[in-house]
């Protein structure tokens, strides 16, 4: 049977809303993509070309600027350092914040709210304010110019936000899951391992990405705490192209473009876990 054509008055506003959504999304996408593309294209230009024609296509495509970076040893060393520092920072952040958040979510003890509040206050302080005391502490611990000297403060700065997010997630898990697990023979540790962690994959991925990006892009901490070039992460590596009198912007653009790639790979690898509805079916909704 032929169905009745829908009332045009009902369909039109819907199409309009969709159009509006696409327009807004397109605009936002453009805002994000345009600088990325400009950067990537800039890496192909000569210094002179970049100055006269910053936004257009390169007049001559200088592929060698990319291949030189990729074939040189410095790029890989900076990448390796950044990767190592970021990966361990993420691991330390996740380890500490899941354990702390679980304790805060499930164990009642004296002074809990105070400790949580103390951690949250940490969110208010930017890294810059802590630089001097941090430098002194790290020096006293003998960790200056070591990877750990950067990793530990980086993780510490991620902890406040991570614990906040995870504690919310853990508290949202149905309480009856804990009861069921306790009756099924778990203690708190097994419950954490077998139930809480698998159900928290979305938040673990989210927190992991936030911590990774923060650590991947950080400049100030390694600048202060590292002094040998062998341990520099990539944001410090860029300085190599910054001469005393001139800055090779076209090379910097090519370098920056190449450093974005690992971050994108990490994002793509983890984003599949950031799916809602993992807890669906636990209890009757």
């Amino acid at each position: 049977m032929q169905s009745e054509p829908l009332d045009p008055g009902l369909r039109k506003p819907w199409n309009f809303v969709l159009l509006y959504k696409y327009l807004v999304l397109g605009f936002v996408t453009l805002l994000i993509i345009a600088p990325l593309i400009t950067t990537a294209l800039g890496g192909f230009k000569s210094a002179a070309d970049l100055r006269t024609n910053p936004f257009g296509l390169p007049t001559v495509w200088h592929w060698n600027q990319y291949t030189d970076i990729l074939l040189g040893i410095d790029y890989w060393r900076y990448m390796g350092n950044s990767m190592l520092i970021s990966a361990i920072s993420v691991f330390v952040t996740l380890l500490c914040s899941t354990l702390a958040a679980f304790t805060f979510a499930h164990v009642k003890f004296f002074g809990k709210e105070f400790i949580v509040g103390y951690l949250m206050v940490g969110l208010l302080f930017p890294v810059a304010t802590a630089i001097l005391p941090l430098f002194v502490k790290v020096r006293d611990m003998g960790l200056l110019n070591t990877y750990w000297g950067v990793i530990l403060p980086t993780s510490a700065f991620s902890l406040g936000m991570s614990i906040l997010l995870m504690r919310n997630m853990f508290e949202k898990l149905p309480r009856e899951l804990l009861s069921a697990a306790l009756v099924d023979g778990c203690g708190y540790i097994r419950f954490f391992w077998h139930i809480t962690l698998p159900l928290s994959r979305p938040i673990l991925a989210t927190v992991g990405i936030i911590a990774f990006v923060a650590s991947w892009n950080q400049y100030v901490l390694p600048l202060i705490l590292l002094n040998s070039e062998e341990r520099y992460p990539w944001p410090l590596g860029i300085m190599e192209y910054q001469g005393e009198f001139t800055t090779d912007w076209h090379l910097i653009l090519a370098f920056v473009t190449l450093t974005v790639i690992p971050a994108i790979v990490v994002f793509l690898a983890t984003q599949k876990y950031i799916v809602a509805g993992l807890t669906a079916g636990a209890v009757k909704g």
């Binding site: 149905p174 009856e176 899951l177 009861s179 069921a180 697990a181 306790l182 009756v183 099924d184 023979g185 778990c186 203690g187 097994r190 077998h194 139930i195 698998p198 159900l199 509805g277 993992l278 807890t279 669906a280 079916g281 636990a282 209890v283 009757k284």
Partner: protein, 349 residues
């Protein structure tokens, strides 16, 4: 299998006295239902038996051993929750086998036990599904499966059927009853539905605001309720109550009606009391007049709500009664099936 002895159990939540001197002895293999209105402390008591709530005072024994301070995993109990509480990231099979896995049973043994339980509960086709892919009734059965694979000493159920629709509720009731007859495991079952309690229980514990009101077999509670609370709670539609005094060996209600007393009632002339008549024991053709307000025929029965001196009075007749609103009915009741309670304490006289 085991006995459960609850002796002088108390529970305080801060200053709030949630349970007051609870005493229940449950025999090995018995099916006991805790029933009472919402908020009376049934779940609290069950959680204390499970070890999920601390016990403020008194003694709890399972299988003869005091377990007050044992964690849930050492009490050898299994519990079915109102919201099922299935692990969302595990399949049906993994959900059911989880406790055995935690116990480190051999894998093939776990598999065999899960399959056997699945067969009993008709879940064998669903073992690889996730909870989100199941209907409410199936989730409920998985929750039960998770309990029975353990072969625990005691089953605890907390309103397991209240999330199901009416029809499914009736069939699951039968399934749980059958399961109990087959496994003969001591079972404590919590519900707020007196009908569920009456049909399933070997013995019912009626609770009211933190105290045990009466304990007894379903029909004993129905025939000889110890107080007005139990009398009004057990039986549907609820018992009619009238206040009045004893005059000339009869009960003279304030609403003007007069009723013969049951022969075992211990009352004295002039005593003020509450008189109870169950709607289903009201007979047509007595000397009490009642004015019909509404008639609700169901086919097999006729329920009539009538006005008696300004109070509502419910009657349930087994035959079809052609009464119209406004008509006056003449009714009565077998005095042996009526109940007299103290007007102050509400206790049976």
């Amino acid at each position: 299998m085991a006995t459960v002895e609850i002796t002088n159990i108390e529970k305080y939540y801060g200053g709030y006295h949630a349970l007051n001197d609870i005493n229940v002895d449950i025999a090995d293999g018995e099916f006991v239902v805790l029933v009472g209105p919402s908020g009376c402390g049934k779940s609290t008591l069950l959680q204390m038996i499970a070890g999920l709530e601390t016990i403020t005072g008194g003694e709890l024994r399972i299988g003869g051993d005091v377990v007050n301070y044992l964690p849930p995993k050492q009490r050898d109990i299994a519990m079915v929750f109102q919201n099922y509480a299935l692990y969302p990231h595990m399949t049906v099979g993994q959900n059911m086998g989880f406790s055995l896995r935690i116990r480190r049973d051999p894998a093939d043994e776990i598999k065999a036990k899960v399959e056997r339980a699945a067969k009993i509960l008709n879940l064998d086709q669903l073992l690889d599904r996730f909870p989100r892919e199941l209907s409410g009734g199936q989730r409920q059965r998985v929750a039960m499966g998770r309990a029975i694979v353990r072969e625990p000493q005691v089953f605890l159920f907390d309103e397991p059927l209240s999330n199901l629709d009416a029809k499914l509720r009736l069939s699951m009731r039968t399934e749980i009853k059958e399961l109990h007859q087959r496994l003969k495991t001591t079972t404590i079952y919590v519900t707020h539905d007196q009908d569920e309690a009456m049909t399933m229980a070997d013995r019912i514990v009626v609770m009211n605001t933190g105290v045990v009101s009466q304990i007894g077999a379903p029909l004993d509670l129905y025939d000889r309720p110890a107080n007005t609370f139990v009398a009004g709670f057990i039986g549907s539609p609820a018992m009619n109550f009238m206040d009045g005094t004893i005059q000339g060996g009869k009960f003279q209600a304030a609403n003007g009606s007069s009723w013969a007393l049951p022969s075992d009632a211990k009352v004295t002339e002039g005593q003020r009391c509450t008189f109870g008549v169950r709607p289903e024991f009201v007979e047509a053709g007595g000397d009490v007049a009642a004015k019909v307000i509404v008639t609700e025929p169901t086919g097999s029965e006729t329920q009539i709500v009538a006005d008696m001196g300004g109070e509502h009075f419910t009657c349930l007749f087994n035959e079809r009664i052609a009464a119209q609103p406004g008509d006056t009915l003449k009714i009565g009741a077998d005095p042996e099936k009526c109940h007299v309670f103290d007007i102050e304490t509400g206790l049976r006289l």
